[in-house]
């Protein structure tokens, strides 16, 4: 009875919420008040696929949903990205019949890292994809090992873990386990020998804390590592990126499946590979997955093209408090041989909570913007001074840098007759403030 009431209330609130433009977590919240264990009282489909990790969750989930629906599967998933237990509850109950049966072939859940243990107490994923553990929102998350410990409580023995072999910390969830599928990238032409980032989270073995040695690095601490002390090392992969050509927008998986890239960046490659691995796990043919993923343009608004006056540009959404997302977004600008200007906006650190902590700026590899493809750098927002200080510690000549506290002032400055393409790198919390101007 409670279950029925929870489902009805959830569905009604969702309909009302959509009309008045409220978020997707509130209905679930009420449903959980009525029936706290409602998630374990619904009849779930055969496949329950969960995705978690610091970066790439939303994109990976969207790509998985795309592949599955292209292949005739009915998929229920948290499209809006409300990824704590309330949002997942909304999604599950809204996709359920009044008798409590989820009306889809596959339940696909994006889950917040720290809260996965609460959600998966009630719903145990059959396939659990973990993308990576980076320095991400440390003002709330503490640090990657803190998140690791929280995530470890969300795992049970029955789940098929699908892990990024190239991330030494996330990969450690597979340590001593049998039913693990690893995905990763072979040595790539874009690899680096030394970690060029300003910090190194791959310096020490997550298992024994002795030094880790890398034979190749894709970026930061992502690569092929081995601990000479305890023997912990990168595992062999079930599916691998065997070749990548960012310049021409192509990647190859397992030596034979070719995907053309709508977004030419390394993080996109991992998201695609994770989606490919999941598609394979549920029995879809590799050739078909590759063709479904080819040229797939994300709908989640993380890449937006715009014009500032006559000047074209692209907004790349990075996440504040997440240095690797900045590094990877900026590397797209650095790779643009046409020459470009880069606008960086830090106005509100988060849209969900207040903090004035900007220590994460010191983890971002802004040094890379000293490359010859980047001509001018414009810094804007409330924290433009903190950005300017950070840039003063790079080797980039100060005359390449402009500082504006007002985003509109930065826009007006960029609205010139310069030929350079514009890349704007900022977070969800600040992207609207820029896009409303263009």
């Amino acid at each position: 009875m409670k279950r029925l009431l929870a489902i009805v209330v959830c569905k009604i609130l969702r309909v009302v919420g959509k009309i008045v433009g409220k978020g997707s977590s509130l209905p679930g919240k009420f449903a959980l008040k009525i029936c706290p264990d409602v998630l374990s009282r619904v009849k779930l489909p055969e496949y329950i696929i969960a995705v978690t990790g610091s970066n790439g969750k939303t994109s990976t989930v969207e790509m998985i949903a795309h592949v599955l629906t292209q292949n005739g599967k009915r998929v229920a998933w948290n499209k809006e990205g409300s990824n704590q237990i309330e949002g997942v509850t909304t999604m599950v109950l809204c996709n359920a019949t009044l008798s409590g049966r989820v009306k889809s072939d596959i339940l696909l859940i994006e889950s917040d890292e720290r809260f996965a243990k609460y959600t998966f107490k009630y719903i145990s994923p059959t396939h659990y994809v973990m993308t990576n553990l980076y320095r991400d929102q440390l003002t709330r998350n503490g640090h990657p090992e803190w998140v690791y410990d929280a995530l470890s409580e969300s795992i049970n023995d029955n789940m098929q873990l699908i892990l990024n072999a190239d991330d030494p910390l996330i990969s450690h969830f597979g340590y001593g386990r049998n039913n693990v599928v690893y995905f990763g990238a072979d040595k790539l032409s874009t690899d680096i020998k030394e970690n060029k980032s300003v910090y190194n989270d791959g310096a020490y073995c997550p298992h024994c804390k002795k030094p880790l040695v890398y034979s190749t690095r894709h970026y930061n601490h992502i690569g092929h590592y081995e601990c000479k002390s305890c023997g912990y090392k990168r595992q062999d992969t079930a599916h691998a990126v065997t070749d990548v050509d960012l310049e021409n927008g192509r990647m190859t998986i397992d030596g034979k499946y070719n995907i053309t890239l709508a977004l030419r960046s390394l993080y996109n490659i991992y998201n695609l590979l994770a989606a490919f691995t999941v598609g394979s796990a549920v029995g879809i043919d590799g050739e078909k997955i590759a063709s479904d993923l080819s040229d797939y343009v994300m709908k989640n608004g993380r890449v937006v093209n715009f014009n500032v006056g006559k000047r074209p540009g692209t907004l790349l959404v990075a996440k504040h408090e997440n240095s690797i997302s900045y590094d990877l977004s900026m590397s797209v600008a650095c790779a643009d041989k046409r020459g470009c200007d880069v606008l960086i906006i830090v106005d509100a650190v988060s849209r969900k909570y207040f903090t004035s902590d900007v220590s994460w700026l010191w983890d971002i590899d802004f040094e890379m913007l000293g490359c010859e493809n980047v001509h001018e750098i414009v810094l804007a927002g409330t924290y433009c001074n903190d950005l300017a200080v950070r840039f003063s510690y790079t080797d980039i000549p100060q005359e390449k840098i402009r500082v504006f506290s007002g985003i509109e002032d930065a826009y007006n400055y960029l609205n010139s007759d310069r030929d350079e393409y514009i890349y704007t790198v900022t977070c969800f919390s600040d992207k609207g403030k820029f896009l409303s101007l263009v």
Binding site: W362, Y383, N385
Partner: protein, 237 residues
Amino acid sequence: MKILHLYYDIMNLYGDYANVRAMERMMLKNGIECSVDRLSFNDKAVLSDYDFIYIGSGTERNRNVVCEDMKKYRDELKDCIDSGKVILMTGNSFEMLGKSITGAGGDAAEGLGIFEFTVSEQKKTRNTADAVFTADFLDRELVGFINKCSEIEGIDKPLFGVKMGLGNKNDGREEGLRSGNLFGTHLTGPVLIKNPHFLTYMAKLVSGADTELSEEHLKYEKAGYEITLKELSALNG
């Protein structure tokens, strides 16, 4: 001028390394020759050789590994503290100086035992907060961020007063540890960048108190400080 950044590659969780760069730049901008040594586990530093020693924050596991390794410096470090060497320890690094650190599982690890305090950690809640602190040796507040899972009992001489944020005990009004020229605080990250007046104060201690130091290069630092202080003060009512 010689600066030592100890355990630079593992106690560097929140951009802490910037504190060392700030001190180095402060010296160079004032025409004081300055070198930085960045050392870690396999090195054996002679602590007394340095004018300024810095250690930043780490994960609890990393801090425990470092604490074990630090025992080789225990007596040397105590001598340095007693003789008034300028030392800054931010984040959870100064927790190593106490008698013991009791982890979330209840297991107590021995600290360096230079001070009598004890540390206890839990793993349920990450205690994080924006912070505004006061110091009796500075005429303006400090701003920053606390990110920890521990509480400390038994510090007689704290470093800061808590106007906003978390203290040694979470709800306490006292924060950090001061002993001579040893400064320990749970503030994380680039504390000396966010608080240019604290940098100047520390740099004077390091270089010898008589020298007047130029702050001309700290224009953006000062502007950033004012904005953060204003935001946090508004938050605090």
